[in-house]
């Protein structure tokens, strides 16, 4: 019984949150890696682009609520995804046309493009703050819990409760759906193959008749879908605040690089590596040990490896270690 209690404790406080957070990071990291692989620059506007898509979802959710549309037990925000994605793609293509395409055609070095993306970052930040303001917003409605701790305790008779929030399940399910469609698209369709070819060797791809404009267009469309959905899932699970999204760029970058930048499989797994490391290293294991160890051995301290203040620092330290020993990331694999 104690052993089961310990497992449930871990599941409730570490594994489920890590899985959720990891999915959100994974979507963002795939967005970064896609831009890096095909368009060949580190996009510093990542966090703000995710925030931009989420902003539309928040505004539309408020609008839908005001005219009385809802999605039953599911959050209304899920209904707004298609519209938000559309707006996001429109914004990205506009930015690409007026800003990035010039440097792409000129074949500027990646560093210059990264600097330009800093400019885009500032502009996007300004637009977001002017439209919706910098404050914290919650836009989750519908059923909040699938399983409550008390219900679980009654059901099983264990000491520890297991809480499953609906956002956790939604995040994981949506991530699985989006990611599998994306991998299917990249591997099985002709357009996806042409994208991989373009990313592997631009010259050869152009020689074999692949239309670069189409590849860029498709890349921005997929990027828009990933960024918006990742942003909305994060916002539903926690809350929507532009500055937090801006800061989330760092763990997302860390996930993309740890996984091997330019490699979507790596990015997907990198998100989970970062999330699990952050949560497992900062969790206080005192209660866990009190269940599995005999009473005489029970720890007196919190058994916390690092204080939660260093949450971000952990992912960055992992990144630094990975960069030191395997600059190409943990999962090299196939390049997109």
């Amino acid at each position: 019984m104690d052993f089961l209690n310990a497992i449930i404790l871990l599941l409730n406080f570490t594994i489920l949150p890590a899985l959720t957070y990891g999915s959100q990071l994974a979507l963002g990291a795939m967005f970064v890696t896609l831009i890096y692989g095909v368009l060949r620059f580190a996009n510093f506007a990542t966090g703000d682009m995710m925030s931009f898509g989420t902003m539309f979802s928040v505004l539309l959710t408020y609008y839908f609520q005001s005219i009385g549309i809802n999605f039953g037990i599911l959050p209304t925000a899920l209904l707004t995804i298609p519209f938000a994605v559309f707006m996001m793609i429109f914004y990205m293509l506009t930015i690409d046309k007026f800003v990035f395409s010039y440097y792409r055609i000129k074949k500027s070095p990646p560093v210059q493009l990264a600097m330009v993306s800093v400019g885009v970052m500032f502009v996007t930040q300004a637009i977001i703050r002017i439209i919706i303001g910098p404050s914290d917003r919650r836009f989750l409605d519908g059923e909040k819990f699938i399983l409550k701790a008390t219900e679980f305790k009654e059901m099983t008779g264990l000491n520890e409760g297991l809480t499953i929030k609906s956002t956790q399940i939604i995040t994981v399910l949506v991530t699985i759906i989006v990611v599998s469609i994306m991998f299917w698209f990249l591997n099985k369709t002709k357009t996806g193959t042409s994208m991989r070819a373009y990313s592997d060797n631009e010259d050869l791809a152009l020689l074999s008749g692949i239309d670069p404009k189409k590849v860029v267009l498709i890349t921005w469309i997929i990027a828009g879908i990933l960024a918006t959905i990742g942003g909305i899932l994060y916002g539903l699970d926690k809350s929507y605040r532009p500055f937090v999204y801006f800061n989330n760029m760092l763990p997302i970058f860390a996930a993309a690089i740890v996984g091997g930048i330019g490699n979507p499989y790596g990015a997907f797994l990198g998100g989970y590596v970062i999330a699990f490391a952050e949560i497992f290293l900062t969790y206080a294991y005192k209660k866990f040990f009190s269940y599995i160890l005999p009473e005489s051995l029970e720890p007196s301290s919190l058994v916390q490896l690092l204080s939660t203040d260093y949450k971000f620092a952990i992912s960055f330290s992992i990144l630094v270690i990975v960069l030191l020993f395997r600059p190409s990331g943990i999962f090299e694999g196939k390049k997109i």
Binding site: A42, F44, V120, F122, I127, R129, Y310, L323
Partner: protein, 455 residues
């Protein structure tokens, strides 16, 4: 002289703008903008050395700035003897252990006859961390519980504050040495991200280690290299000086009590301006000294070597230049200058607030300064620091003015107008962003482009 005509023109416009602020807003605001412009200029000189001379991207600027600020606290604040006696010894012991672990790892890496090297090294590190936690945890707890509302940290050395500027540079240089050893082998955009993340780590350590510099509880009332306003207001010579300066204005007032009130008001205003002027003078000395040094370095054989490495690393190394060593050197030099700027900034503010170092935001502002001003040109970098900081500060009032101008026809209760007026502070991001995009597109070399002097 003609060679420098555009430099002189650009600087006079900048000076004119600051004087305009002085005339229309107040001289105190103008001087504080000028001081921050000078500090930004020092930072951009540092970033420009790395990016303009050697093509290294360092997005870790805020980390080094925070280290410079930390140096001010550690050097100038008076020591807290109770805290030292509570846990100082065990912390020194911890420091010794860290040195020992580093030496041990260095020995292990150098020694070639050991099998399972990675395993041994990682086990040394992990056991070292566990031992450190065991020794330091009680010491830190007892230090932080010494009068936590006022101190709760070890304090500094109680030395003059100007010394801390040098120490700030040294701190930053030391950390830059370690970071450079780790990260400099990376490709340009990886280096950018790695340095950004390392800066975030540095700032989060300074923020959360309360025994070091009180963390987010802030250290206030730091020493100053300039006199205090309150002392000035009470000193005879200063009041006489103000009276002399404003004698015509004061003589117009006939009643004695009114004259006295007026005089005391003028003295209060003048004292804040006087203090800011002292800071401006100090900062100006630093900027000019750095400018002369960097300018001489740029046109020396060493500067030519750096440019050769920047423009073509492979051919430079084929000519026998040690690219790795030069990159490390320039990374350290640039970071040290940024650390100096950080110390100057904290001295100017008189308080150390680790919570305000946001690597994500202000780093990019400094980079915009370097790129807008002109990469590889020191005059350009300084100009960029001035121009962008000026915009950053004055963007909100300017955009408020523009909003009011364009929506003048709308009634006061119009929702769009109210919303726009409330979001006026965010227009600075828009202005900076669009400015950067325009410069990158139409004048990628910056306002004052790099000049290569042919010999």
């Amino acid at each position: 002289m003609r060679r420098y005509s555009n430099v002189i023109a650009a600087y006079s416009i900048m000076l004119f703008l600051i004087i305009l602020v002085g005339v229309f807003q107040s001289w105190s605001i103008a001087l504080s903008i000028l001081n921050y412009c000078l500090i930004s200029a020092v930072m951009t000189i540092g970033a420009n050395i790395q990016w303009g001379y050697a093509g290294l991207i360092n997005f870790g600027i805020m980390g080094y700035t925070a280290l410079g600020g930390l140096a001010v606290v550690l050097v100038s604040v008076a020591p807290v003897p109770e805290a030292w006696s509570a846990g100082g010894l065990s912390l020194i012991f911890c420091l010794l252990i860290i040195c020992l672990i580093t030496l041990l790892i260095k020995y292990l890496i150098k020694n070639k006859n050991i099998e399972n090297k990675t395993f041994i090294i990682s086990s040394v590190i992990i056991s070292g961390i566990i031992i450190l936690r065991f020794i330091s945890a009680p010491a830190i707890e007892s230090i932080e519980s010494v009068d936590p509302a006022k101190t709760g940290f070890l304090g500094g050395l109680g030395l003059p504050v100007l010394l801390s500027w040098i120490v700030g540079g040294l701190f930053a240089a030391g950390v830059a040495f370690v970071v450079g050893k780790i990260a400099l082998g990376l490709r340009a955009d990886y280096l950018a991200i790695a340095t950004l993340l390392i800066a975030e780590i540095i700032v989060s350590i300074i923020k959360h280690e309360d025994w070091l510099a009180r963390g987010v509880k802030n250290v206030i009332g730091l020493k100053r290299p300039a006199p205090y306003e309150i002392d000035l207001q009470n000193s005879e010579w200063f009041i006489n000086l103000v009276e002399k300066f404003n004698s015509t204005k004061l003589n117009m007032i006939t009643s004695i009590s009114e004259r006295k009130d007026q005089l005391s008001q003028l003295v209060i205003d003048a004292s804040s301006i006087y203090v800011k002027l002292c800071f401006s003078g100090l900062f100006l000395i630093v900027v000019v000294a750095l400018l002369i040094l960097t300018q001489r370095a740029l046109y020396s054989p060493w500067g030519r070597k750096m440019r050769a490495i920047r423009d073509n690393e492979i051919s430079a190394s084929a000519m026998g230049k040690n690219v790795v060593k030069e990159h490390l050197l320039i990374f350290i030099l640039g970071s040290a200058i940024v650390g100096l700027a950080g110390a100057m900034m904290v001295t100017n503010d008189g308080l150390f607030t680790p919570g305000s170092y946001r690597p994500m935001r202000y780093t990019f502002v400094i980079w915009v300064m370097v790129i807008v001003g002109g990469t590889g040109n020191n005059f350009g970098a300084i100009l960029g620091g001035f121009a962008v900081w000026f915009l950053w500060v004055q963007a909100a009032p300017m955009s408020l003015f523009l909003i009011n101008f364009f929506t003048a026809n709308l009634p006061e209760t119009n929702e769009i107008k109210i919303h726009l007026i409330n979001s006026a502070p965010y227009f600075r991001f828009l202005i900076i962003g669009i400015g950067l995009l325009i410069i990158m597109r139409y004048r990628p070399q910056g306002i004052l482009p790099e000049k290569i002097v042919k010999h």
